[in-house]
């Protein structure tokens, strides 16, 4: 455990939520920089870049999607957005604008901290690591081979590409559109049927026990690889 506490920018216009989050985050080992508007958040981030940001999607002077886009303009810091139930379009827009994950209000603060730690682990890991090892799964990026508990898993090139992209962004929620554009090309960005079929095949091979273990589903939004 390093002595330096990580700084997290929290932007929400509800003072009551900020109050609670400050305490919960402090207890989880983070320093909190609070902002109550989009402008205040952008200013605070520019002045003293935090290690991560938690941004509410509905702000009095703009929307969180814009904040995500502007932060992404100069920083790779993990961003988690806070959304209300049923805002699928805005959620997806925020993820496509660079957010790493979202959490729906009202959320369990422990869940928020778990997600925050997950996206921070992605940034902490070496981007150019030749092998990704997660919980018994070993992906050798150089050899394009996958082993589960030491046993080779045979994947088709598409399944391998999907797994590689998910694993290299582990902890991050990738939208259907993002995955499809990345693996099949932008012209196939709406072909969710192909995506679901290949994810199902990939899961059958990786998770024979039938428990979703490595890949998590977010029904309307996308998939994330566990961190």
């Amino acid at each position: 455990m390093s002595a330096a506490r990580l700084r997290v920018l929290v932007c929400d216009d509800e003072l009551q939520i900020l109050r609670g989050l400050k305490i919960v985050l402090r207890e989880a080992g983070f320093d909190v920089e609070a902002a109550q508007s989009a402008q205040a958040a952008l200013d605070a981030a520019a002045l003293h870049p935090p290690e991560a940001a938690i941004i509410d999607l509905v702000l009095p002077d703009g929307d969180g999607v814009d904040v995500c886009r502007q932060l992404r303009g100069w920083s790779q810091m993990p961003i988690i957005v806070l959304s209300a139930v049923g805002d699928e379009e805005i959620k997806i827009a925020a993820l496509d604008a660079g957010a790493d994950d979202y959490i729906t209000k009202p959320f369990n603060p422990r869940e928020l901290i778990a997600r925050l730690n997950a996206v921070l682990r992605r940034v902490g890991s070496n981007v150019d690591e030749p092998t990704i090892r997660v919980d018994g799964l070993e992906i050798d990026l150089a050899a394009r081979s996958v082993r589960r508990d030491g046993e080779e898993v045979h994947l088709t090139p598409t399944e391998y590409d999907l797994l590689r992209i998910l694993a290299r962004n582990r902890g991050r929620l990738l939208t259907h559109r993002a995955l499809l554009s990345e693996v099949w090309g932008p012209q196939y960005a709406d072909d969710t049927q192909a995506l679901r079929t290949h994810i199902a095949n990939l899961r059958r091979k990786l998770e024979p026990a039938g428990e979703p273990h490595y890949i998590r589903t977010d029904a309307r939004v996308g998939y994330r690889f566990i961190a």
Binding site: V85, G86, E88, P106, P157, T158, D161, V183, W184, G185, Y188, D191, T192, Q193, A194, R196, T197, H198, I199, A200, G210, E211, P212, R216, T217, D218, A219, R220
Partner: protein, 479 residues
């Protein structure tokens, strides 16, 4: 759609002008034929009496071509009779004064016969037209008033009017601009400032036809269209009233739910909030109070989610966003959500290579979250089983619990919003879960039913339609 099983032959409602050239030819031919027929008749009678045969020709022509040609036939007949049969033949001269009398009598008889035949002809044609109009009105009434809505019936009504008028491209246009009527349409006044146009199409520039339609067809059509409009309006009102009555029931139930289900956790939270500030707190008490706040607030949150789901369903705002989705994914995500780290309480079984379904994944997730919560609540610690497979061309998912089961009365009402079994106070639920389940399943084109064996458990069976499976996935672009 309207299908008229036996296409009715309508008498022509509007006369088509008959060819004059034909008429003249027929006049000449019939007179010539009669003249020839009289030659053999002359052998058996005096030369004057066979002249009566010409009356047949006059009647024939007058019946088909009217008075004018009847008179023409009379004159031509008189001339021919004179020339060929009244001595001296071969000349238009009458020698005998008796013959003068005979010819004059013939001429008068012929003219009167023409007039009578023409009158009969006109009356018969008029009667035919009226019958046609009556038939048309009856058929149009059946089409306009017998069906679902005016909009649905209009094309068929247009077709009927077109057949009756002999205008294949006649068309009834609702709420058309009266000024646009021009020369080829008749304006139909529907009352309350509404108008329709009966566009007569290509032959509409015939003024006589338009006048006839305006006088004989339009009034009945106007009355029928008004009746159809009234019927549409009344139907809409009935639907609205029913919806209002239903929403009243829902509102009452909602108020009851709000007063109890929302107030109880709120009271607990407020009490705990006050208590946590007490300086006299002992050891674990603060932690306990914190837990009360969290648990009660989560209960509130779940209830708000359900109320939102239900109000969306009631308002018809739960339009599913269908996409290909994997049932296995949906069910597993729901289990993750419900199990809260204890997935052992659920036994899942999916047939291999289940096809994808076309549905709203988020709504289906809500379906299974509600069903699984419900099943776990009643299962008394036994495992809840979920089984998905394809049966009879449909996706079939069964959620099976080994709880106390439900009686027939309970089963019948299980899917009603806010229905709670009074005897099951031990298992407090909002009474909304199953209503949401049914709402979302049906919104996605599926069906849900419950089967129960009291004392042995309950099965919730969901059927979802299987859309035609799409073609093979595209080949990935080379990376």
């Amino acid at each position: 759609m309207w299908i008229v099983s036996t296409p009715r032959e309508y008498p022509r409602l509007v006369d088509r002008p008959r060819s004059r050239a034909w008429a003249v030819l027929v006049v000449v031919l019939t007179v010539a034929a009669t003249t020839l027929v009289i030659y053999p008749l002359r052998e058996v009678g005096p030369e004057v009496s066979p002249g009566v045969v010409y009356l047949l020709a006059v009647l024939l022509v007058a019946v088909y071509w009217g008075l004018a040609f009847g008179l023409l036939t009379s004159l031509v007949s008189a001339a021919a009779f004179n020339f060929f049969h009244i001595p001296p033949t071969g000349r238009l001269v009458i020698a005998d004064s008796a013959h003068w009398v005979a010819l004059s009598v013939f001429l008068v008889a012929a003219v009167v016969a023409s007039a009578v035949a023409d009158l009969a002809r006109t009356r018969a044609a008029e009667a035919e037209r009226r019958r046609g109009e009556a038939d048309l009105a009856a058929d149009t009434a059946r089409v306009l008033l017998g069906g679902a809505t005016l909009a649905d019936a209009l094309p068929e009504a247009s077709r009927l009017v077109g057949v009756a008028l002999g205008l294949h491209d006649a068309q009834i246009v609702m709420d058309a601009d009266g000024d646009r009527a021009g020369d080829r349409a008749v304006v139909l006044d529907l009352g309350a400032g509404r108008e329709a146009l009966l566009d007569l199409g290509v032959r509409g520039d015939d003024a006589a036809l338009r006048a006839r339609v305006r006088e004989r067809v339009a009034p009945a059509l106007e009355a029928l269209l008004r009746a159809a409009l009234d019927r549409d309006r009344l139907q809409a009102e009935v639907v609205e009233t029913q919806a209002l009555r239903r929403s009243d029931v829902i509102k009452t139930a909602l108020l009851r739910a709000v007063s109890h289900d929302l107030r109880t956790p709120l009271t607990a939270i407020i009490t705990a909030g006050h208590a946590v500030r007490s300086p006299l707190l002992e050891g674990g008490e603060r932690d306990e109070l914190g837990l009360v706040v969290v648990e009660e607030a989560q209960r509130l949150s779940a209830l708000v989610d359900k109320l939102l789901d239900l109000s969306r369903l009631q308002a018809g705002a739960a339009e599913p966003r269908r996409d290909w989705c994997s049932l296995e994914e949906v069910v597993r995500t729901a289990v993750d959500d419900v199990a809260d780290g204890d997935a052992a309480g659920f036994a899942l079984s999916f047939d291999e290579h289940l096809p994808l379904v076309q549905a709203d994944a988020a709504q289906l997730e809500r379906v299974f979250v509600n069903l699984l919560e419900n099943a776990r609540r009643y299962s008394g610690g036994h495992q809840v089983k979920v089984r998905a497979r394809v049966v009879g061309g449909k996706m079939s998912i069964r959620v099976i619990d080994r709880g106390p089961g439900m009686s027939a009365t309970q089963l019948a009402r299980a899917f009603e919003p806010f229905y709670r079994d009074e005897a099951s106070d031990a298992h407090p639920g909002s009474g909304l879960g199953l209503a949401i389940v049914r709402g979302f399943v049906e919104a996605n084109g599926g069906r849900v039913r419950a089967e129960s064996l009291p004392g042995h458990g309950t099965v919730f069976a969901i059927e979802l339609p299987l859309a035609e499976q799409p073609g093979p996935a595209p080949i990935p672009a080379p990376s």
